[in-house]
């Protein structure tokens, strides 16, 4: 018993990238353990999905035709039942918003430990070792799980996607879903964040984070954006506070941007922010903290107070600093 079971993710008719990343992570682990990689896809066009999921290294794709979209009450039951059949040592689930909506419950039902947001997994030394971050990505930790079985959620975009075609067995799994235990109903979806500008179209973004401190200080970065002819964007706390509209938010739950130049001002570089801007051509960080995770990503950096640097920068270009 040394197999790995991974679960794919889809939304509104499309498989999500995380599905192909979890194949890569799962194969690596299965190789270390000398076992098979089983992949499950639950709901939606499972046969179509199974064709796409038949990638190199996948031994079996289990299709479970239950519902159209993700519903955690269904997923929890199905994955628990499939787990009992496959009897893997490791259950891998993408650490997405939906993954976090059912993985902990599956672990609870199976009575096995769960470790979330892994950026590395290995069983090379016998027990499962998971690499994860703490304290806002300032440190990494190794977490050892001294148990035969474990549920691990894998951080999106940490593993490459497996692209090449495979030769998996596709097997339909007949789950027995207790409808009385389905106590939540997905009634629809809603797009948010339209509006005046599309930051994903901008060539140059001046992006501001919590380091700006007060709403009235936004004037300063607005003046810089004006001077540079750039578009203003932000990290999440600025939007949460209602200082800028949602369409300005860069990140996992906001927009993905790929400008030529991204200037991150007073932004720490939390993983959910980075998810939205790491594809920028040139990244510039202005931050007082030399250890801020954004520094690892930046091409150019100034370790200093933004309230000292930004006014100087505005003046360099003949603009007028409001402070």
């Amino acid at each position: 018993m040394s197999d790995v079971l991974a679960v794919a993710e889809h939304r509104r008719g499309d498989l999500r990238d995380a599905s192909f990343e979890v194949v890569t992570a799962g194969r690596e682990l299965a190789d270390e353990q000398g076992g098979d990689l089983h992949l499950a896809v639950v709901g939606g066009d499972v046969d179509g999905f199974a064709e796409e999921l038949n990638r190199e290294g996948v031994d079996v794709v289990h299709t479970v035709a239950e519902g159209e979209e993700f519903n955690h009450d269904v997923y929890v039951q199905v994955v628990e039942q499939l787990y009992a059949q496959v009897a893997p040592t490791t259950l891998l689930i993408p650490n997405t918003v939906n993954g976090l909506d059912y993985a902990p419950a599956v672990a609870e039902r199976l009575g096995v430990p769960v470790v979330t947001d892994a950026i590395g997994v290995s069983r090379a030394n016998g027990s499962m070792e998971v690499t994860r971050e703490m304290y806002g990505s300032k440190v990494e930790t190794t977490v050892e799980v001294d148990a035969d079985e474990v549920v691990v959620t894998t951080r999106p975009a940490e593993w490459p996607q497996t692209e090449s075609e495979g030769s998996a067995d596709v097997q339909a799994f007949d789950a027995d879903v207790d409808e009385s235990a389905v106590r939540s109903t997905v009634t629809g979806f809603e797009e948010v964040g339209g509006g005046d500008v599309d930051i994903s179209e901008a060539d140059v973004l001046v992006s501001v984070g919590r380091g700006i401190d007060e709403e009235e200080n936004l004037e300063l970065v607005e003046a810089l954006a004006d001077t540079l002819g750039a578009t203003l964007s932000s990290s999440r706390p600025i939007v949460d506070a209602g200082w800028l509209p949602k369409n300005r938010q860069v990140g996992q739950s906001g927009k993905v941007v790929t400008p030529k130049v991204y200037i991150a001002i007073g932004i720490s570089g939390a993983v959910q922010h980075v998810a939205g801007m790491k594809g920028s051509d040139t990244i510039v960080a202005i931050n007082t903290d030399p250890n801020a995770p954004i520094m690892d990503l930046a091409d150019y950096a100034i370790v200093d107070d933004l309230f000292d640097v930004v006014p100087e920068l505005i003046e360099e270009f003949g603009g007028e600093s409001p402070v």
Binding site: V97, L100, A103, P104, T116, V143, S184, M295, A301
Partner: protein
């Protein structure tokens, strides 16, 4: 109606820090109310303010130091607080998701709330799993990453928005009793008023040990251990501009001119 809010005091690392063994050296840690829990507290307090007969109770698993944070929640309108701690918990190497869920479950069983609010994640260890694990342990329904809530208490349904990736929200109806993990941006957390802070001093803050909750030491025995902590090797090859603000701004200006961001 009763709403239970889980409140965690989290540690934040200062800009410069040292690691001592398996954790950041205590000298470089500052403690504060978990950002996501602040929004959870606010959501509960707003529901209490809008309705008759709603009690808001907070629960914290944490040492005496965390009472400062708990008083902050009380000052913002939480009616009474429970803090769970004893020598066994203090001596535990690491409370994993299952252990936290078991401890909190016994509080849920004693309090019998209609709703439990937790933060989406705690920004120190960022497991993001306690709320859903707790829901399943106590047999409540749940929803993770909730950024809008319209509560129909009489109908026993919470209409929620779950914030998915990429600017898409999922609309879901959840049967009560339920655990909702609250995302930032769902509301605007208030500052504690001076009056609130004074009143908080008189509110009940009940300290309970595992015994009081009918649990024994086995609850903290978990197979999950932290075995290493280190500063990640910097993959960055950033050019760091040195000098006064004027000098660094000048260098950055040159770069932006080079890149054609601005002319001249």
């Amino acid at each position: 109606m009763k709403i239970l809010v889980t409140v965690k005091e989290v540690a934040e690392a200062e800009d410069d820090f040292e690691i001592d063994g398996l954790d950041i050296d205590e000298r470089y840690l500052e403690y504060d109310l978990n950002e996501w829990d602040d929004y959870a507290v606010e959501e509960a307090v707003q529901i209490a303010e809008d309705g008759d007969d709603v009690e808001v109770v907070s629960v914290t698993v944490g040492p005496e130091r965390s009472e400062e944070t708990i008083r902050m929640a009380l000052a913002k309108g939480v009616d009474r607080a429970i803090r769970v701690w004893d020598d066994t918990l203090a001596g535990a190497e690491m409370l994993d998701v299952g252990a936290k869920a078991d401890v909190l479950a016994s509080v849920v069983e004693a309090e019998e709330p209609d709703l439990v609010f937790t933060g989406v994640q705690a920004n120190d260890d960022a497991f993001g799993a306690t709320g859903v694990a707790l829901a399943d342990t106590v047999g409540f329904e749940w929803a993770a990453v909730v950024n809008a809530l319209d509560l129909d208490a009489e109908g026993g349904v919470a209409h929620v928005h779950r914030e998915l990736e990429g600017g898409v929200e999922e609309l879901t109806d959840v049967q009560l009793p339920a655990v909702l993990t609250i995302q930032t941006g769902i509301n605007e957390p208030r500052y504690a008023s001076l009056r609130g802070i004074r009143q908080a001093q008189r509110k009940e803050l009940d300290v309970q040990g595992l015994d009081d909750l009918g649990l024994d030491a086995s609850v903290v025995e978990t197979p999950v251990r932290r075995t290493a902590m280190y500063e990640p090797e910097s993959e960055g090859d950033a050019t760091v501009y040195e000098g006064s603000a004027e000098e660094t701004a000048g260098q950055l200006a040159d770069l932006l001119r080079d890149k054609g961001v601005v002319e001249g």
